[in-house]
Amino acid sequence: MDQIILQILNGLDKGSAYALIALGLTLIFGTLGVVNFAHGALFMLGAFCAVTFQRLLTLSYTFLDESQKDFLGNPLKVNVPYVNDWFGPEAGASIIDWSVPLAILFAIPVMIVIGIVMERGLIRHFYKRPHADQILVTFGLAIVLQEIIKYYFGANQIPTPAPQAMFGSFDFGALVGRDPGAIIYPYWRIVYFLFAALLIALVFAFLQFTTFGMVVRAGMADRETVGLLGINIDKRFTIMFGVAAAVAGLAGVMYTPIVSPNYHMGMDFLVISFVVVVVGGMGSLPGAILAGFMLGILESFASMREVIEFLPGINQVVIYLAAIVILLTRPRGLMGRRGVMEE
């Protein structure tokens, strides 16, 4: 029982990442009708916003410490971050400590700008082109983006820890009446789940309760008519692309303490997020969220020792197996609409 609750928590956590990426993908597909293979790269860029921000905070000057030696026996070069000088060593250290959450503020404008530039500069020219062309050009873009990141940051993972205060785990056991210590879950992962839930709620509220969102939804349903009403729907869609990029980017920023980022992390998520979107039903926002969490939980259960012993290898294929079963029983995914992407 404890194990099952633990795996549900794990699933919600994994599902948060899947759902956030799938949400962005679906926003782009739903509004612009573009299959964006560079979406994983946006997630990765978000994570590297956190890395860059950490680098910015730790920008340092160097002095030679004669009392210590480096590996060649020369005086050791000691780096001191400027923030330590400006705010004092303690405040400086705690600012650096909180770099990942602070990076959110940095990532939102950066990602929106990246999204808008991408849409205006490239994607715009591909609205009327076949999906295969869209896939190819965005895939090419994804490769280019990740190679640029690799060029500057290297191929290895870069540690970006959560703030010290978020270390440690929360004891769920006591909360739900189990033994203390039986179900503990890391704070940061709980934060990630709550953050994802909040972000999803914000996007839905934005679409549901603002005039802007209403127009966008109308545009998703019937672009031409909205255009005929004299509304500049293109501009709004461009902004939605920026929003989708920001959602993916924020998912990436907050993910960095869970898995240290490297240039390849976007590609690792790309296939899985497409499976999530399709299982949820192309173009359906609630479907994407539902499928994200569902597949996350399923994957967690399949990685339990008891399950693997019974069905070796199931942990590696369960998502694909689920996708096949769902698509065969529900032709348009869980909540898909008729006639979308079937031609």
């Binding site: 896939i135 296939v271 694909y320």
Partner: protein, 402 residues
């Protein structure tokens, strides 16, 4: 000729001549020159890869180019074919023919099953179904199925293979030198080459390459026949409007399934040839990136055209094998004639795009081709040809090129 109209015969002949002369054409620079050391591609491994991936892409194009169904799991058939061929080389005989035939058969059977299920859906749902099957095949091959597939290391021939056929048919566990025998046909190993030195040039005529090339020409010929057949017309009709066909009371699924299986068998042939040319099968040739690669090859070259996929395959393999090998020392040698500061500048400018940066160049090329040449390289060729024709006959005399 052989059921082809004049235009197609000419195309086939041109391809045949190009393929036959590839060892000459791909080594345009003297062997020992700096250009030759870097850009010559006429060595057996790469030439074999060109035609093998050409076959793979031709097969993929029969499905995607004709019907518009985008399979994102085609590498699975290539991988299955490779494993099947490899097991023949291990169990039966080191002769490549049984291995290749078995590869085709097994890949055909697997594609029948996967196609039968996946073709229940269309559009992106079909793509995801094929992707899911291929990813499952890859994950299992790399882990749980290690006894059959050799896991992540891959499957190889070994000193303990039975190879039950009699010796003159390629049986036998070890060769005369006490080593593992290499795949062969008619008593000649795949790696055997005839090297022709003409002045500073060296041209390598490799036995394995010509076997692959023969299969490729056969595959190309069959593809032309399919494109021009009533069956091919039916597939094109499915691409333009499957619903309308269904409404006329026509059941399109048998046609689709046949097409899918043919395409899978092409992949199996490519996989079998890969195992025969280089007896090692790694699971990663089934990964989604490998499936993606054949999609890229086809679109890059020109989907739906006969020759496009082959060109796309050639270009991508050229990049992977030639550009990835240029290192900083090579660059410094190239630009060494300039003053030092200029050498440094040029090396700094060019270095990110070659060697370990070859992915970056490839990504940029995808983008440029898709943006400016939606019809792929074939469209590029047509545009150039049109320019020349315009030059001769003046504007207005244009006929839509096919």
């Amino acid at each position: 000729m052989y059921g082809l109209n004049r235009k197609d015969t000419v195309l086939l002949l041109i391809v045949a001549i190009l393929v036959a002369a590839a060892p000459l054409l791909l080594n345009p620079f003297p062997d020992t020159s700096a250009m030759g050391k870097t850009f010559n591609a006429g060595y057996p491994d790469l030439m074999q890869r060109f035609v093998i991936f050409g076959i793979f892409a031709i097969g993929f194009n029969i499905l995607f180019g004709l019907t518009g169904y985008l399979s994102f799991g085609h590498a699975a058939f290539l991988g299955v074919g490779s494993y099947a061929g490899m097991w023949m080389l291990k169990l039966l005989s080191i002769n490549v023919i049984p291995a290749i035939l078995f590869s085709i058969a097994v890949a055909g059977a697997v594609s029948l099953i996967i196609g039968w299920i996946s073709l229940r859906r269309s559009g992106i749902y079909f793509s995801i179904l094929t992707l899911a099957f291929a990813q499952m095949a890859f994950s299992l091959a790399a882990s749980v199925l290690t006894p059959i597939t050799g896991g992540e290391t891959g499957l190889q021939t070994s000193l303990n293979d039975p190879r039950i056929m009699p010796g003159f048919l390629g049986g036998g566990t070890v060769n005369s030198a006490g080593n593992i025998p290499a795949p062969s046909l008619l008593g000649m190993e795949m790696s055997e080459s005839f090297i022709l030195n003409v002045g500073p040039w060296a041209f390598t005529f490799n036995w394995g390459y010509y076997i692959c090339a023969t299969f490729m020409l056969l595959a190309f010929y069959i593809a032309i026949r399919i494109f021009r057949s009533p069956f091919g017309l039916m597939l094109k009709a499915i691409k333009s409007n499957q619903q309308r066909l269904n409404y006329t009371g026509l059941n399109t699924r048998p046609y689709m399934l046949t097409c899918f299986v043919i395409s899978g068998m092409y992949a199996g042939l490519a996989g079998g040839l890969m195992a025969a040319m280089d007896p090692q099968v790694g699971a990663e040739r089934m990964q989604w990136t490998a499936s993606g690669e054949v999609v890229l090859m086809t679109i890059l070259g020109g989907a739906g055209t006969l020759i496009g996929p082959v060109l796309g395959a050639g270009l991508i393999k050229y990049f992977e094998n030639i550009f990835s090998k240029i290192n900083k020392a090579t660059l410094e040698a190239w630009f060494g004639v300039f003053p030092d500061w200029m050498t440094d500048l040029l090396v700094t400018l060019v270095y990110p795009f070659i060697g370990k940066g070859w992915h970056l160049t490839l990504g940029l090329i995808f983008m440029l081709v898709v943006i400016f040449l939606p019809g792929g390289l074939v469209e590029g060729g047509q545009r150039i040809a049109r320019l020349f024709r315009r030059g001769k006959t003046g504007a207005g005399a244009l006929k839509p090129a096919e």
